[in-house]
């Protein structure tokens, strides 16, 4: 099971907490999936003066580790301020760092991300950066003090799955000891299983579950897919090959006839 900043988590599934039909359904999704970490947006739901407290209390009642995020921040300064607010509100050094670089695709701003990660790490935050699968960017994030990487599968909310399998595989190969989480872009459990088969440690998703017709069932579907994919990874899968090889013995049969 994954270990983030020396904290062991009992599940490979991390779930966002936005867009569910109700907090009761959100709680049911966590229960059925056994998800171990809940990410919470501070910026959107805050409104100052702890006006979001009712909702945050419901999140606390889930009994899982809370990972506050800086969703919706478009600059380093905004992200840093939001992270500081999150630390106060949730009493945790963990922060999922999002610095959005493009309003339409919501893709990360790699330059701002590295800068914000450095500032926050120096301020003793434990940063979970939402990044692209770019190897050089990930190198810089590690240099900046990140001990987890969270590359996207596809743009947030698109459900397109793993857009660059080569890039994600390459990250895994270059950072064998850094916990890697596919964050964003997943729409189906099979895509989450694929991330596991690549050797990723966990996945983080929100829309695919929250916007499903039955969010709790979909959450469970993801949890099972993660289990399947991880088992496959640990079982050392066969290598694909071009030549067919019969799985039953052919000795004694007139196959050349």
């Amino acid at each position: 099971m994954p270990v983030f900043y020396d904290t062991k988590i009992a599940s490979r599934l991390m779930l966002g907490t936005a867009q569910y039909p109700s907090p009761a359904i959100l709680a049911e999704a966590f229960k059925r999936s056994g998800a171990g970490i809940a990410t919470v947006s501070v910026r959107r739901e805050a409104g100052g003066e702890r006006a979001g407290q009712d909702f945050w209390d419901l999140i606390a009642d889930l009994g899982v580790k809370v990972l506050p995020n800086t969703a919706g921040c478009h600059s380093v300064r905004e992200a840093v301020t939001t992270a500081q607010m999150a630390r106060e509100l949730f009493d945790t050094p963990w922060i999922k760092l999002e610095v959005i670089g493009h309003a339409d695709t919501l893709q990360p701003d790699p330059f701002g991300l590295v800068e914000a990660a450095r500032i926050l790490t120096e301020d003793e935050f434990q940063v979970f950066p939402y990044c692209t699968e770019d190897l050089v960017l990930c190198d810089r994030l590690i240099e900046a003090g990140c001990r987890v990487l969270m590359p996207w599968g596809a743009p947030i909310g698109t459900g397109l799955g793993l857009n660059n399998v080569y890039g994600l595989r390459s990250l895994r190969a270059h950072f064998p000891d850094v916990p890697l989480v596919v964050d964003a872009g997943l729409g189906l459990p099979s895509q989450a299983a694929q991330a596991m088969e690549l050797g990723y440690d966990a996945v983080l998703l929100n829309t695919a579950v929250a916007k499903a017709g039955d969010p709790a069932a979909m959450a469970e579907g993801f949890a099972r897919a993660l289990e399947a994919g991880r088992l496959a990874f640990e079982a050392d899968p066969m290598e694909p090959r071009d030549m067919a090889a019969p799985s039953t013995p052919i000795l004694g049969k007139a196959f050349l006839a």
């Binding site: 039909p21 009761a24 359904i25 739901e45 409104g47 909702f55």
Partner: protein
């Protein structure tokens, strides 16, 4: 003689008062803010009586309880606009429309020509949509005022004062309909912030509720007549109810602009916000605790669900009939 005291003259309190009065009960209404106005959450509502559209994200109970709402409002106020609701999305978001259709019922698919026939100002902009012909809407402010006036005419005593819900010095039953203000009594109630706009835009003519599906900014526009439109509404997990954020304003206006660019010329008449009262499952409750009845948690469905809740509360008060959304509280 007063049989029932109702605290809170928002949509729930007024509907219950109307229903009880119509069944011959003596009712007294308390509201610290006076006649229906900006102090009540329902003042800012859209007033959509659209149970089938709501099925997209609401529990089946909302549909069942909401089906009779339009008829109730028409009987009590005569103010219902029953021209249906139209749901559209831009061509790139057709997936949203398919998903909405899968999760709802009682609609017809409409093409560009049919949309143009229903709403000429949208026909050249949207190639497909869903038309829910049996849905309605009502202007919340007119409806609240009409109920208030009719209750006064029928001799219901309306007291402009705070009333302690735990004050048991008076005889009779007390029904607490204070919405989010009852948070101190109902600890698992939460506020869900909603923000809305009123636009004056005589350049656009829409005659029914229009919903625009959008992956980030779902929007509805409800015509109020004379070129005035209510545009809403955000859903934010926050009990803050004093300010509208620039971001929400930008999002709602840009979605309105996407619906019809003529909204760019609209005048902003009002920017409003309040906190909807909701329980964890976003479903309403009639909760009995000792001699008190709390009717609360109507979430975004105040006008849709109040008639059913008023009926059920009256059944409980007058006949001892236990309603389906009853919640006995022995704490």
């Amino acid at each position: 003689m007063v049989d029932v005291t109702i605290i809170g003259a928002g949509v729930a309190g007024l509907c219950i008062a109307r229903e009880l009065r119509d069944r011959g009960t003596h009712v007294q209404l308390y509201d610290r803010g006076g006649a229906p106005g900006t102090h009540s959450c329902s003042w800012w509502a859209g007033g959509m009586l659209a149970p089938y559209c709501e099925a997209e994200s609401a529990e089946p109970e909302v549909v069942n309880l909401g089906e009779g709402a339009a008829q109730w409002w028409q009987d009590k106020t005569g103010l219902v606009n029953s021209q249906g609701s139209l749901v559209v999305s831009q061509d790139r978001d057709q997936g949203q429309l398919c998903q909405f259709a899968r999760r709802t019922s009682q609609f017809d698919h409409v093409d560009r020509a049919q949309i143009a026939e229903l709403e000429p100002d949208l026909g050249d902009r949207f190639s497909s949509g869903l038309f829910f012909s049996s849905e309605s809407h009502i202007c919340p402010r007119s409806a609240l005022t009409a109920l208030h006036q009719s209750l006064l005419r029928d001799g219901v005593e309306f007291i402009v004062a705070e009333r302690d819900p735990t004050d048991s010095s008076k005889a009779g039953l007390t029904i607490d309909c204070r919405g989010y203000s009852a948070r101190d009594e109902l600890t698992n109630l939460r506020g869900v912030k909603g923000e809305m706009l009123m636009l004056s835009c005589p350049d656009v003519t829409l005659s029914r509720t229009v919903r625009l599906l959008h992956p980030r900014i779902p929007l509805y526009v409800v015509p109020r007549g004379n070129g005035i439109y209510m545009v809403g509404a955000t859903m934010i997990e926050s009990s803050a109810s004093d300010h509208v954020t620039a971001r929400s304003l930008l999002e709602m206006l840009s979605a309105a602009y996407a619906l019809n660019p003529a909204f760019g010329e609209a005048e902003l008449l009002e920017i409003g916000t309040d906190a909807r009262p909701a329980f964890a499952d976003n479903l309403p409750r009639i909760r009995r605790r000792g001699g008190m009845i709390y009717v609360n948690g109507l979430f975004r469905h105040g006008f849709l669900l109040s008639p059913a809740l008023a009926r059920m509360t009256a059944d409980l008060v007058m006949d001892g009939q236990i309603p389906e959304v009853m919640d006995e509280d022995h704490s």
